[in-house]
Symmetry: C2
Subunit: 247 residues, 2 copies
């Protein structure tokens, strides 16, 4: 897949790459880069390609051949899977700086899920062949991926039980908690930093859009949250956690 490079003029494109690389290299969260030696860093800088995606634009689709390691630099990305009868399940949310799209390559499979930008996003790519070489020469990088994969697998297994066994209210409360843990709050420490459509909220918590809307209204009536369009404020997190646990 050759992703949509929003060509934005040569100068500003170069600036963007520079800024993005700086961000990637300095971000302490992305421990991945701290384990590279200088030669590896040069190879990365030479191969790193920046792409911009518009709101709701697909990054890759289930069934395609995985070729790149994707690194979200700016924005928010969802990984999702189309199921039966037009229903969609959001599997994982990506924030900056996080890596994604490598699992299928490692498993020797085609993409098992799709990725799309939630909001305007900047993504860097690195050919997986290069990543593979780097892993072979750098055992810390191997451990980085072993660790990431292991954490994600645990998360997926937990999600299976949450989505199949909890009731609607529990699932939505859980989704709100996950969103707050993952993307955090605005400066007021209450407003979720992600503004998603009710439909996405529904696809995240395995319910229909109407039920997401209805249940959300219920939470408002119980004064657990307030809602202003897509702006959600968490008022009573402990109670939400309780409902998420089972209620």
């Amino acid at each position: 897949m050759r992703p949509g490079v929003e060509s934005a003029g040569r100068k500003s494109q170069i600036d963007m790459i520079k800024k993005a690389l700086e961000k990637v290299m300095s971000e302490d969260m992305s421990e991945i880069w701290t384990v590279l030696n200088n030669e590896e860093k040069r190879r990365i800088i030479d191969s790193f390609v920046i792409h911009n995606f518009k709101k709701n634009q697909m990054i890759y689709a289930e069934g395609e051949e995985p070729e790149y390691l994707w690194c979200l630099l700016q924005g928010k990305v969802k990984k999702f899977k189309d199921g039966v009868g037009g229903r969609v399940q959001i599997l994982r949310l990506i924030r900056s700086v996080q890596y994604f799209g490598y699992r299928a390559y490692f498993a020797n499979e085609r993409y098992n899920s799709s990725a799309a930008a939630f909001e305007p996003s900047t993504v860097g790519t690195l050919p997986m062949t290069l990543v593979k070489d780097m892993i072979n020469n750098n055992r810390k990088l191997a451990w980085f991926f072993i660790h990431e994969l292991s954490r994600n697998l645990g998360g997926s297994d937990t999600k299976i039980v949450n989505l199949t066994q909890k009731h609607i209210r529990g699932r939505l409360a859980e989704a709100l908690i996950v969103l707050s843990d993952h993307y955090g709050f605005e400066d007021d420490n209450m407003t979720l930093k992600i503004y998603m459509a009710r439909e996405d909220l529904a696809n995240l918590s395995n319910m229909t859009t109407s039920n997401a809307i209805r249940t959300l209204s219920g939470f408002v009536a119980e004064k657990l949250i307030t809602v202003d369009g897509r702006r959600i404020r968490i008022l009573d997190e402990p109670q939400l956690r309780k409902i998420s646990k089972y209620g």
Copy 2:
């Protein structure tokens, strides 16, 4: 956790270990061993401990500290998670020779699920500290785990969609297909090689035991399968696959 060693007399215990090691070392499915050099093989032989588990005996439980790589030599093992209201979800089935129990260690977490023997089973353990050392000295071993974790993660994501979106009949049909793919058939090429309680079948396909029984009876009435106690024969696999896809 110190697992239950069914001490079976010194002589036969030694025989068992010898046989088990032979099996592990020769099994071509377990590519993991082919990548080791002689020194590594000696370290393994010295540390490898055999354990026997009775039918339904727990191997480890959610929340415990992971210390060992488990290798199923003989028998069948289920990995499962206790959810809300006494419900159980079977997450993965292990056959010989397969490895399990390493994810939590790699993720630096406690066990996220439990493991129990479906039937009398023989399991070998290796301290994860040793496995870690081996990975550091052997990049092919690192790739083995990256590959396994990646495949499992893809499977878990698929399972999320299957279990949340398919209807009861589809989920049970899917479970039967998975069982046949995973454990295979008896010599008649029809009878599933695994004999599980209806309750386990239900826990595998996210439904109540009564619904598993009822739906299974439905399949019998439609001549898709026959049932004789826990012995299930697949008569019409194509149709089962169709139902599993959506029916």
